[in-house]
């Protein structure tokens, strides 16, 4: 078989793609009209489950970018049992994540010992003003609604893990 010149083959590739796009549709997504759903594990935005947070400062201390700011104070809560001593609890005054600094590494979510931080695949929270990227605890708590269940694992995975 004689060798097809590369120049001709190249034309064939582009024409083939042309027909493919015309018949099977393009590979692009018309973004504002249609949206791709990101994978479950996608690191979009960090959600805070306030009830679980004990303000132990672990996330803030392990953040490589220093972008988590926590302030808390102790308070006396009514005892859990009748007649018990009043408990000391930590109340969260401030929990801010500065998404202008955050580099989405996920270390804070990983170190949190009380399951108070979660990843949500939500990504549409850009702001015209950079200061608005500082999400406070109410905003971070709102993201909780978008947190998906963790995906099932591939066969052969160790089941012991949570």
């Amino acid at each position: 078989m004689p060798k097809v010149p590369g120049l001709v083959k190249g034309l064939g590739v582009t024409l083939g793609t042309l027909f493919n796009t015309a018949t099977k549709g393009a590979n692009t997504v018309q973004y504002p009209h249609e949206k791709e759903t990101p994978p479950i594990r996608s690191r979009g935005v960090i959600a805070l489950h306030q009830d679980n947070c004990t303000s132990c400062m672990l996330c803030s201390r392990s953040c490589p970018d220093w972008c988590i700011y926590i302030e808390a104070h102790k308070e006396l809560a009514p005892p859990r049992r009748e007649g018990g001593k009043p408990r000391q609890v930590n109340l969260l005054d401030r929990f801010d994540i500065d998404y202008a600094l955050c580099m989405y590494c996920g270390i804070c979510v990983e170190v949190c010992p009380f399951d108070a931080l979660f990843w949500s695949p939500e990504y549409e929270y850009s702001e015209p003003n950079i200061a608005d990227l500082l999400h406070d605890k109410t905003k971070l708590s709102e993201w909780m609604e978008t947190v998906p269940e963790a995906p099932a694992l591939e066969t052969g995975a160790d089941k012991k893990k949570k």
Partner: protein
């Protein structure tokens, strides 16, 4: 010390122009390519002294993206450093984590479980595919063909989706941990990967038809920017650039690391020519080999945990370790010095592009202006990898 052809054309041009320049009193022109220029993949600046369209002298000026990672790593703990090294070669970021984690594991005397090693190797090769497929497309743009880059973006997207669904990050996975991986693969991932590998092989064929087989492409790259074997070794070139000069050396094969490359049947390609075409062609073949490696390893992932037993707060014992791997751009290594602290005492990042691009002042002498672009494209650097 120039390549024969280059040297002859350079001398001829010099001799012819010397008289002309004397008569017409013309002087050369300094052309500043970059820092913002479509050929520089970021912000590299090349100062070229031209005589007509011929380069008399050229020198890259780096530093427009210097982020000081070596300094930053000294104030971070070991797990935090992986987030930095992700961003060195941002197109193949998972591959950057691996040598650093391996170096830390070596110091700690920990080895990841076999399942984690398999998954690491697969993700490593996936990031190579994502990286090099973009190179193959971008090569077209550098040479004036607009279509390949869109095909590359189209098919790279599949690989990035895979990486994202496994690790959670498209570009910066931060998935590797000392002693294993952050998490296991999500269900259905293996089948998906198989399908994508098939698509990627199709992409390689398309690029070969569209670009590599093209006579114009060949005439632009063959015999251009020839790097002889000994020069390549002297400058410490690595990866495809070294193999294109005929050095049969692939760290995946020639080094015993706790990774699973030797469980797959694949081939290290070399090319005797050492020119731009050879470098590009080797990368194309490597992408194909990578898809093969991934395919084979997918079938043999053993069951088990993905994380070895390591303490929650990681303190790395005192010592020094050097680990390098065959990254998409070439040999990437970390010289980690630990003082038994939470963080490294010193991390020397040996990035492939720094060495690969340091040859340009030598290589660009005597070529034409369009060849600057071809040679730079074929050397394949990423700015983050030069400047760190």
């Amino acid at each position: 010390m120039l390549g024969d052809r280059q040297q002859l054309s350079y001398i001829a041009a010099q001799a012819a122009d010397a008289r002309l320049n004397l008569e017409l009193e013309t002087e050369g022109m300094t052309l500043n390519i970059g820092p913002q220029h479509p050929a520089t993949h970021g912000t590299l600046r090349i100062i070229a002294r031209l005589d007509g369209e011929q380069v008399v002298w050229a020198e890259p000026a780096c530093g427009y993206m210097h982020r000081g990672y070596e300094k930053l790593a000294e104030v971070r703990t070991f797990p935090q450093v992986t987030t930095l090294v992700n961003r060195i070669d941002w197109l193949g970021s998972f591959a950057n984590e691996v040598p650093f984690i391996l170096a830390a594991e070596k110091l700690m005397g920990v080895e990841a479980p076999t399942r984690a090693q398999y998954i690491r190797t697969i993700l490593f090769e996936l990031s190579r595919i994502a990286n090099v497929s973009l190179f193959l497309g971008d090569l077209g743009v550098q040479l004036g063909a607009i279509t390949p880059v869109f095909l590359a973006f189209r098919d790279r997207e599949y690989v990035l989706n895979l990486i994202e669904s496994a690790t959670g990050g498209r570009f910066h996975p931060n998935f590797d941990r000392i002693g294993g991986l952050k998490d296991d693969l999500p269900a259905g991932w293996i089948d998906e990967t198989r399908a994508v590998m098939k698509k990627l092989r199709g992409f390689c064929d398309q690029i070969e038809d569209l670009l590599f087989g093209n006579e114009i492409f060949q005439s632009r790259t063959r015999g251009i920017g020839v790097i002889p074997r000994d020069v390549a070794l002297q400058y410490g070139l690595s990866g495809a650039n070294l193999r294109a000069s005929g050095v049969d050396w692939d760290l995946r094969r020639d080094q015993s690391l706790p990774m699973m490359w030797n469980k797959a049947d694949w081939k290290v390609w070399t090319h005797p020519d050492g020119d731009s075409f050879a470098r590009c062609w080797i990368r194309l073949q490597e992408t194909r080999e990578s898809t093969k490696i991934v395919d084979q390893l997918l079938g043999s992932i053993p069951a088990g945990p993905v994380m070895a037993k390591v303490p929650k707060i990681i303190k790395v014992p005192e010592g020094e370790a050097w680990v390098s791997t065959e990254n998409p751009l070439g040999e990437m290594g970390y010289y980690v010095v630990s003082r038994g602290d939470l963080g490294p005492f010193r991390v020397k990042i040996r990035s492939a592009s720094f060495n690969n691009i340091s040859i340009t002042p030598w290589l660009l002498r005597g070529v034409y202006v369009p060849d600057i672009v071809t040679i730079l494209a074929s050397l394949y650097f990423i700015l983050g990898d030069i400047d760190r």
